[in-house]
């Protein structure tokens, strides 16, 4: 057997692509020519090294997906637990920041910012969105959530997982107050909402057991978000 044929067959064996005949041919070649066994072992090591390491070198260039919004809090908590609140130099530098803010306010910038904030608040549509599968509407019939149940919220219907996942992963827009969705797989109701100082938090609560109870649960959550 010539060298290129052996390398080809050996690689098939190593990659689990070989037929039984090809496997036997490689075994026979290695038994009759001991140098082939060493060649086989070398090829196997190269194959393992590259198939393990090559995906990692590619990972270093990855640009997506984005960090899901609802995992940010979890990571922030881990940072606080590790470094402790005292480690945040912002707290230590509080007086300096305050002096800087005062200077800014009296310098006129504050007035402009205040005007801008008032305008933004007037125009902000503090929307609450509720994400649902279209199939739930059909399946749930009378029991399913409708726009009448939550007039102050906007219902967003999805036909497939991909678009629903994208909607869930998207951070809240500046004019959005909250979004809510049901995770039937884990029996959880997800609430992604804006709290004080623009911070966004993700909360979950156990999902009510029936369609009717879930409808009430969502209504209550929407009402609490509007108050």
């Amino acid at each position: 057997m010539d060298a290129p044929t052996f390398t080809d067959l050996a690689l098939r064996v190593i990659s689990r692509e070989a037929t039984d005949d090809e496997r036997r041919a490689v075994e026979a070649e290695m038994a009759s020519t001991p140098a082939r066994r060493e060649e086989f072992e070398q090829l196997k090591r190269t194959h393992q090294l590259l198939r393990t390491a090559a995906p990692l070198t590619e990972a270093a260039r990855a640009t997506g997906p984005e960090l899901p919004a609802w995992r940010v809090n979890e990571l922030s908590t881990a940072v606080r637990q590790h470094f402790g609140p005292a480690a945040n130099p912002k707290a230590e530098a509080g007086s300096t920041i305050w002096a800087h803010v005062l200077r800014w306010v009296f310098g006129g910038g504050g007035l402009a910012a205040l005007t801008f904030a008032i305008v933004m608040m007037c125009f902000a549509n503090r929307t609450v969105e509720v994400g649902l599968y279209s199939s739930d509407l059909v399946r749930g019939g009378e029991q399913s959530l409708s726009a009448r149940d939550v007039p102050s919220a906007r219902l967003v219907w999805f036909d497939e997982d991909t678009s629903f996942d994208q909607w869930q992963n998207q951070p809240l827009a500046w004019n959005q107050h909250a979004k809510i969705w049901v995770d039937n797989e884990h029996d959880l109701l997800y609430v992604l909402r804006r709290v004080r100082h623009g911070q966004i938090v993700m909360e979950t609560q156990p999902l009510a057991p029936t369609d009717a109870a879930q409808r009430e649960q969502i209504k209550q959550v929407v009402n609490s978000l509007q108050n």
Binding site: P4, D8, K44, T57, E58, A59, P65, S76
Partner: protein, 204 residues
């Protein structure tokens, strides 16, 4: 946040904003590493592994000298955890009385992960950077179509059949082309005898 060095200094001080920025920048790499084809985890599982790997950077941040080291570190952590998770899942499947456990026992999949786990345990960020450069050099020396074929085989672990379909070539030519290209890459590896010898030792 200004330069990478300023970012790293802020991370070492534990500044929340800096960590938010670092997590945002490093998540894609962590997620891609957690989706290592050997582990073949679902996107949800990979997301959990990536988040865990990011939190494991916290105790290590004072040991690194450059922000980019964190990227390489999170990649090795995430890939190692992903493969361990896969191994654990297979072990559970075998021990859990699952109907497929007989198949699993006949073809002991967990053994397949041992060399990869060993290698990932010993692979440092510096090794990974060197290997990346080596692979880039080796692949750029190939004809572009051949380089894409090899990349799909090594990086995405596509089987011969899929490669033949994707590149519209006979399945026999796939193997011949891969074998030739791997020989060329091996020649590049031999140019780095220390690294290749050290890493190969974990694959025996």
């Amino acid at each position: 946040m200004g330069t990478d060095l300023e970012l790293l200094t802020a991370l070492q001080r534990g500044e929340q904003d800096a960590w938010d920025e670092a997590f945002r920048r490093l998540y894609p790499a962590a997620f891609a590493a957690a989706r290592h084809p050997l582990a073949s985890l679902t996107p949800t599982e990979a997301e959990d592994i990536a988040i865990e790997a990011l939190t494991l950077l916290l105790p290590k941040v004072k040991q690194v000298a450059a922000f980019d080291e964190l990227r390489l570190l999170v990649i090795t952590i995430a890939s190692r955890k992903a493969i361990s998770e896969k191994r654990r899942q297979l072990a559970d499947k075998r021990g859990g009385g699952d109907i497929t456990s007989l198949d699993a026992m006949q073809d002991d999949e967990t053994i397949r992960f041992e060399p990869a786990e060993q290698l990932l345990y010993h692979l440092s960020g510096i090794d990974l950077r060197e290997l990346g450069k080596l692979l880039d050099a080796a692949l750029s020396a190939l004809e572009p179509r051949q380089a894409d074929l090899v990349r799909d085989f090594l990086v995405h672990h596509l089987p011969y059949k899929e490669l033949a379909q994707k590149y519209r070539m006979p399945i026999g030519s796939v193997g011949v082309g891969l074998a030739r290209s791997l020989d060329k890459i091996r020649a590049h590896l031999q140019a780095m005898p220390k690294l290749s010898k050290e890493l190969a030792a974990y694959l025996r």
